[in-house]
Subunit: 214 residues, 4 copies
């Protein structure tokens, strides 16, 4: 759509200098704060520059090709942080049922520890769109966590740990229930993410377990 005219490092690329990486991180961090506070729709370059104490909005355009590039970087950053946080917790529990519980708990724990990042991520995933109205973050990226969850649920069904159900529907409900916590955290003052996680664990254990099994 647009070719970068500057000699800038904007394009995704790989060979980035240290200072550039630090700047990008700084800008993404400010973007996260801004989205969490004002919502995606009101998160303008001007607002972000203000929060990041940047001398000029130009610095954002310099380091990111366009707004889409910036928000994709945000999504990538938070998703990677989340993955790094959750993966060991989940992999520590090999059996399907335990792993599902670990998945839910890890998500809610991450939310409890990184509420700002999660709120920003959820908002961007739900609302960021291109000029033509299509979602900014490709449906596959968006569904990546759900797709993994679906696969995991199907494995549990094959092993007989989970009852037969539509794995996609179940995964959708699980992710939606988890993501809802981000909104509750904003709206309800004393919302306890971990307690909500424990309720979800029980809820989805009952909903998925195979009573006939073993």
């Amino acid at each position: 759509m647009r070719v970068n005219p500057d000699s800038a490092p904007a394009g995704g690329g790989s060979g980035r200098s240290l200072t550039t990486d630090a700047r990008r991180t700084q800008i993404v961090t400010a973007t996260i704060e801004t989205v969490a506070e004002l919502g995606y729709a009101r998160a303008s370059f001007a607002q972000i520059a203000k929060r990041a104490k940047l001398s000029s909005v130009r610095l954002i355009s310099y380091h990111f090709e366009d707004k889409g590039d910036l928000f994709q970087a945000l999504v990538g950053t938070v998703q990677e942080t989340a993955r790094a946080f959750m993966q060991p917790r989940i992999e520590a529990r090999p059996e399907p049922a335990a792993q599902l519980s670990a998945y839910i708990e890890a998500n809610l724990e991450f939310l409890a520890e990184h509420p700002v990042e999660v709120r920003a991520l959820v908002d961007v995933l739900a609302n960021a769109r291109r000029e033509d109205g299509s979602p900014l973050v490709s449906s596959t990226d968006f569904d990546a966590p759900v797709a993994l969850l679906v696969e995991h649920l199907r494995n549990g069904q094959l092993s007989g740990d989970f009852r037969p159900f539509d794995a996609e529907a179940m995964a959708t409900a699980i992710r939606a229930s988890i993501d809802a916590a981000a909104n509750r955290l904003s709206a309800v003052d004393d919302f306890d993410a971990r307690a909500y996680g424990r309720e979800l664990v029980t809820l989805f254990s009952l909903a998925t377990r195979n009573v006939e099994a073993k």
Copy 2:
């Protein structure tokens, strides 16, 4: 800050003429289409006027006090349509467990029949904010369906139909699972809302039922 504009019919009130009501409906309908297509953030007066085939954006300002007024009208309209659709379906089933199933199914059925309205409603509820950043639709309005659901779940617990659980957490999960369908409908081409509804019915029946009972 802002004073009443022209002596227009804008402010809500009761005594509105037929022509005015027709116009308001026409504009709200166009707004629903616009939000469903472009998202709340991109739903400008110009886009709405285009879809409503209005001669001037001024007609919107004439019939609605401001943007907030328009979106509140949208929310009110869709919520009322939804209520009229779902209430009889839910009240036809008095027992707690059956009523919960009816609640879920009615919601998904409504979504299947009014996908555009629901998508617009969910988007506006999630994203519409005032200038100061506060949600346009008051948190209580927003939570009204959840609050009713909570009460309903607690009644089921008292009657022994439902197991003990945190009713607020359960209600949050149920609503989130239902609302997620609106997004799936946009993202997935052949998404079957009714089938998803049946899965949710089973899911939440297992998750709520009291095995010790009766």
Copy 3:
């Protein structure tokens, strides 16, 4: 510039019905209040209609040819009220020096009793302009009170009551000093218009009297 298309009574004319006159008065009164409160620049038809509790701005357009016509009516109304109030007070004192004092005192007394009208009048006279930027109220209308004052001062000089001075300059200073009271009244909470009037009487008595005389 513009011919009235409606069959309305808008054009100045003479043969106006009673209801029409009552309506015009009601609208002018509301305009006075609006200008006093918001200033000329912010006194829109919408604001005036709101204060006059008119059902539609259309009523204003119906009774007045355009905005200029309305504000000219305002000026005429207030000036006539002021003249009716002040003329007897001034004419009661035939000698030049006493008459000048009466002129000043009558003006300030009128201000004290009709602060809203005077503030509106001063604002409109100072700021109302046509589309091309020329003053709405013709310079001669505007200067009418000053012109009378000039003549009066010159008579006093001929009779030997006043010292020789530039009558126009003196008249300008007198009127400006009087009109300034309207602004002080808005800005200063406990401004005493009558006390200010007494100070002006002394001030301009000393400034105009002919010490060599008699």
Copy 4:
């Protein structure tokens, strides 16, 4: 309600570049011309941009936070120019009576040399208001020249040079008489500001002097 726009140089502050300062000056100058010609109410960004030959109205928003900021800059600029012009003239005459005469003459001389600036200043001071209707230029700023004059008059009374009178009332009359010249200059073609100044000097000398003194 309103957050800082682009990370522009708009906010006042100190560290402004040369180019920016030149632009700001250019815009303020064009604003002065526009206000003098069309009046405050009609001095829109579009009109100002036209007179400043700017490529876009956006340049104004870029260099000034909002309209209020621009007009405050205008007031500051003209007041500073006026102060620099008048202060040495006034301070050159230490005795109260002479100083008052110098004050009046300096004001009228400044008007004669900078009629456009003064007309704009008087118009903005009288009419510029915030959204809520409060004066844009704080009452204290506005009254600053009057307050100084009051103090000066009181000193003259203590020293016995001036007769007893209400210093505030006298100061109000003096300033009003001076400011009226700006309007006369617009309305009357051959108005002679310096001659008017000399008349005011005589007028207020007679009105303030202490006949019993010395």
